[in-house]
């Protein structure tokens, strides 16, 4: 899942400004594959453990003392995705912060990303119950 220019981004209950993109990836932590006699091809595959990784990229144009979230901190990420109509979807992810890094930004000729610092926040989705998806979608009537 890739969201460019997400709206109303909140992390740990506080508004998060300058967010350029949010990506949510799902990768197998335990991938099961089985073969059988008589041929080279896998005949069974399943994913028994999933890792949900959320990456938030934001531009920081002014000095910030302290981060919106610290590694190891439990937090809730909320943001809205605007559709082509008026309806939008609100997305909520229960997560734990795994890293916060910064890179010196380079100004784009379009001016969309002026010089500054790009902050990358990486989060891991966590569930209260093992069969609950940490990523929850809900429909809203507008941003």
């Amino acid at each position: 899942m890739v969201v460019l220019d997400p709206q109303q981004v909140e992390l740990s209950g506080a508004a998060l400004s300058g967010v350029r993109s949010i990506t949510i990836g799902r990768t197998p932590e335990r991938l099961l594959e089985e073969w059988q006699d008589g041929g080279p091809f896998c005949i069974f595959a399943d994913v028994a453990r999933l890792r949900v990784t959320v990456k938030v990229v934001r531009w920081v144009g002014a000095s910030e003392l302290g981060a919106a979230v610290e590694p190891g901190e439990v937090s809730t990420l909320r943001f809205s995705v605007t559709g082509d109509g008026t309806a939008s979807q609100r997305v909520q992810v229960q997560c734990v912060c795994s890293s916060v890094t910064h890179e010196a930004g380079i100004a784009e000729s379009s001016g969309r990303m002026p010089s500054g610092v790009v902050q990358k926040i990486e989060l891991r989705g966590v569930s209260f119950q093992p069969d609950d998806d940490p990523v929850v979608f809900s429909n809203t009537t507008g941003v």
């Binding site: 335990r30 099961l32 089985e34 073969w35 059988q36 006699d37 008589g38 005949i43 069974f44 399943d46 994913v47 028994a48 453990r49 069969d131």
Partner: protein, 123 residues
């Protein structure tokens, strides 16, 4: 996916592989706790044995538990029957000796667990 059968019944839903190996003398430990150990049986095993390994695949943990119960019963009662690999190989009059599970039980799209079953021709 070809389905293995034992005693004419498809007992092992899921992929399975078979190794036709040789065994010497085998021992059967039908009990799971050490305090039951005095009642273990020593079995004479001659000739070849077969090792079946694979993954039992069921749609729910309850169904998997039920299937494991059936297979465990076959092993504990030393059931002798024809084993069919599902791809044309078969072993008639072979006895199921032991079911070994390889945890964890995995719950993804389906419920599954890896296993190994030992068979042998008993005297």
């Amino acid at each position: 996916m070809s389905v293995a059968r034992f005693g004419g019944v498809a007992q092992f839903p899921g992929p399975a592989r078979f190794v036709d190996g040789w065994m010497g003398r085998g021992f059967n430990f039908p009990y799971s706790t050490i305090d039951q150990l005095p009642s273990f049986q020593a079995l004479d095993v001659l000739g070849r044995g077969v090792v079946q390994s694979g993954r039992l695949v069921l749609s729910s943990p309850i169904l998997l538990e039920a299937r494991l119960g059936v297979i465990r019963g076959l092993a504990e009662s030393l059931t002798t029957a024809e084993l069919e690999s599902g791809d044309g190989r078969s072993w008639d009059g072979i006895t199921m000796l032991r079911l070994r599970l390889e945890p964890p039980v995995d719950l993804g799209r389906v419920c599954s667990v890896a296993y190994t079953i030992d068979y042998a021709y008993l005297t």
